[in-house]
């Protein structure tokens, strides 16, 4: 952060970026690609089933793509992010397209593992680029969240606007000492919602009369959630950072004693104002009397 970007009396406490393993959710998608690529290569070239189940290129491509798509659907359902499915769909489409474009059908048992590994390496690089694009600056007055690979985004949060701090640490975070801290602003920035929906259908009548009904119900739960650019995502050392943020937030919050003092001072000011008004009135009346005399 440049010196000219700092406010008056502002000093930087810590400049942070996410831990290399903090995007394990995205990295695990790439790890799966590598593992499945290696497995399909082994099945097609070295296993005892290579001639039985993987004798021709259709079965190799079919097995490879169907597993990728099924895993994509499962991962998308679990994380409620359909982009995982479309990502895997893109990988499958790219692989099939490459094989048919270059007429590599006979060598699909070799092309597919290499292609999958290459795609996952590219995936790892993209995730790493994305991780490195994050920058969190904790100053004595505010937290600045910066990020974006192509489009640059920035969020500034003053400590007096922080109403709540949510922090979480997964098992990997506990092992490597990183975690995520979400400062929730008074406007509710930093809050997301989990919604679930259940529906059921009924069909009555087999031949002539048919009745179709759908019954559903939804539920929404608010939960602390923000994009990695707007939270202190996977920061290391987690405990120290948490302590600093809590100390700074606490420092900008008026404690009950201070609140009492402010009220007392306000009362004092009011009394002084009243006294001043009374004095003014009195001096005016004194002036009137002297002028009459």
């Amino acid at each position: 952060m440049y010196q000219e970007e700092l406010l008056e009396n502002e000093t930087i406490e810590k400049t942070l970026s996410p831990h290399p393993l903090s995007f394990m959710g995205l990295q695990s998608l790439c790890i799966f690609l590598i593992v499945w690529g290696v497995l399909i290569g082994w099945f097609a070239n070295f296993s005892e089933w290579k001639d039985v189940w993987f004798g021709n290129y259709v079965s190799i491509i079919f097995a490879w793509s169907i597993v990728l798509l099924i895993v994509g659907v499962i991962a998308s359902l679990l994380t409620i992010r359909w982009r995982i499915f479309f990502l895997y769909l893109g990988v499958v489409a790219g692989g099939i397209g490459l094989i048919f474009w270059q007429n590599w059908q006979d060598g699909s048992g070799i092309v597919i593992p290499y292609y999958t590994t290459l795609v996952s390496i590219i995936g790892f690089l993209i995730v790493e680029l994305y991780r490195r694009s994050h920058r969190y600056i904790i100053s004595n007055q505010r937290i600045i969240f910066r990020g974006g690979v192509l489009t640059k985004q920035e969020r500034t949060l003053r400590y007096d606007k922080v109403s709540d701090i949510n922090s979480k640490q997964g098992i990997l975070g506990q092992i490597f000492g990183f975690g995520t801290i979400i400062p929730i602003s008074q406007s509710g920035f930093g809050l997301g919602s989990d919604s679930s929906f259940a529906a059921g259908g009924v069909q009555v009548g087999e031949k002539k009369a048919k009745f179709m009904g759908i019954f559903g119900g939804g539920k929404e739960v608010q939960t602390p959630r923000a994009r990695s650019y707007y939270e202190l995502h996977g920061v290391h050392p987690y405990k120290d950072v948490k302590k600093i943020v809590e100390r700074l937030v606490q420092g900008s919050v008026i404690v009950p004693y201070q609140q009492e003092q402010v009220t007392f001072q306000k009362e004092q000011v009011d009394i002084q104002k009243q006294m001043r008004d009374l004095l003014k009135k009195q001096t005016k009346s004194d002036d009137g009397e002297t002028s009459k005399e």
Binding site: V38, L39, W42, F46, I171, Q174, I175, F176, G177
Partner: protein, 364 residues
Amino acid sequence: MAGSPIDIIIFAPLAPLFGVILFWFIQLLFIESQKYLLSKIRPKHEPLCRFTNFLGILFQTICHALGYTVTKSGISSFYISINYGKVAPKKEKKGIFEWLSNGFLFIGPFFIPASLLLICLYFLMSSGFDASIPGTVIGIEYTFAGQMITFGTNLYTFSEGFFGFLSNIDLLHPAHFGFVLLLIFIGMGIRPSHIGEKKREKVDMLYDLKNIKDNILHKPLYLIILFLMAYVLFYISLLLQQGWYVALFSILGWLSIIAIVSMVITHMILFLIRTTDEIPGYWKFIPYIVIIVSYVVMRLVFFFFPADFTNSTSLLAMILSTLLSVILLLKYKTNKFKTKTPMKSLRKRKIEDETDVPRRIIRE
């Protein structure tokens, strides 16, 4: 049936029991040694130690939960972190159920993780495992010596198959590679300790043994019942001329062997980590690269020039080249072997230098 009635009725059932206890003690010793090694590398490898701690706690917590499930106590809360785990039952059951669930907690971590490996072995070992099914040993004698011999034979047959499998393991086979990873992970996590309300920083072998002893002495009647059940099983096996009794304890012996082997492999890894820590800079990564490169190169050589014993030769070459690389690095990058400057002379010189200065000053 040879042997005196006293031997058959009283002493014979104790033979496999003693065998299992012996193996279990060996396992405990390995656990202690592993803890010592981990404590030595802790300052430089905190995450690794946290990871092993998490694995240990995970197994303990699962065993504890399993204990509550078996005793139908139910589970109301399940908490696990890298340094603490807790399972709370829905219904607080007393008596034998409490004793059983505590038994699962204290003794489960010794055997339950190893049983996972045994299941994997069943699917992976194509030879050796079938032949060693307990009870198939012909001519079981129901005496102390006979039972001990049968128990030992069962363990020997299993060990022969297991070590044969390990020495021929194909690390380029996904299932075999997965098994090795599981063996290492489980080896790092096999260690029992009490999961109570209070956190304990140091949990050693004596503490574990004390817990087990307390659990036994807390309700000695249950222990007597367990012994009686064991004796009844032995008498049934004797009457039906079946090897069920020795089979049960043989399986526990197998589990101990698997656990010990997994800990030996973990020891080798921990020892490698500890040794490479002494090598400065990026040179410390060379042995780890050598592990992979040497194995792959050997397999490639055998792929193009087929020969017998390719898997075991590759494994041996991998171990030897890693060992050689570590020794060479220690020799040329550190003064571990004291070949650069003998430590004694260095110390002497230092002392002389220190003592010389004041003397000179005094003389002057």
